[in-house]
Symmetry: C2
Subunit: 141 residues, 2 copies
């Protein structure tokens, strides 16, 4: 949490945190700063990534890639406690990464955000996991 207020550049970022020495490539700094997304967008982005930064939550979300599941089954699938799953899902519910459907005493969760789905897929291929049938191979015909 740096709290940089960044409107139009030209003025130093904020007192006390500007570069103590001169810039090496002032033009580029200027250009990049003008393209930098707003504070709030960067923060939101960081929050989303933060939700994906825990192995337990990642396992939950990977499970949900295959379709909706109830808390109990998610616990069995991921190895987390049911309480742990519930806590995790609460965090994911806030920014609408997952959504609930309630049926009797059960709660069925599913992915609510296609971007997160893409982030996960991308991440999985990055990590060398071939993504099984999630990643369709581009075959010759």
């Amino acid at each position: 949490m740096t709290g940089t207020v960044q409107g139009m550049p030209t003025a130093p970022t904020r007192p006390g945190s500007e570069c103590a020495t001169r810039l090496v490539d002032a033009e580029k700094v200027q250009a990049v700063r003008s393209r930098m997304p707003a504070e709030a967008d960067v923060a939101e982005l960081a929050v989303i990534f933060g939700l994906l930064s825990d192995p337990g939550r990642v396992r939950i979300l990977i499970a949900l890639l295959e379709g909706e599941m109830c808390v109990c089954d998610l616990a069995a699938t991921t190895g987390l406690s049911e309480s742990g799953v519930s806590h995790a899902l609460r965090l994911l519910r806030g920014p609408r990464v997952v959504q609930v459907r309630r049926a009797g005493r059960r709660a069925y969760y599913s992915l609510a955000d296609s971007h997160v789905r893409m982030l996960l897929d991308l991440g999985l291929t990055h990590v060398g996991h071939a993504g099984q049938d999630r990643l369709k191979m581009v075959t010759n015909s």
Copy 2:
């Protein structure tokens, strides 16, 4: 850190954390567990996302999307202290998200991982930031 050892399913995840009640859709649990990436892959994935979960680091990486920059300019661009940038870059250097080129007393950093670049782009579009000229619009012809 749940530490689930997950080889072939059928056996409960580990003593004490299996579902206290019976499963609702045992077949699906089974299927999803068999597709779940290995512990190490999930952990690595979480680490990568974790690196993207801090606004300061996100700003650094967004800056680096435009090409290499030295620490001093990164500090000016992101509003972080130079020490802060240095610490952040160290974290990013570990998993080879960024790479250094040294020239005299300067250190020029650049993105070393195209997947991270994609994650950032994807995240930026998610967040509503049109990605300026990073995101090429698919026009009619």
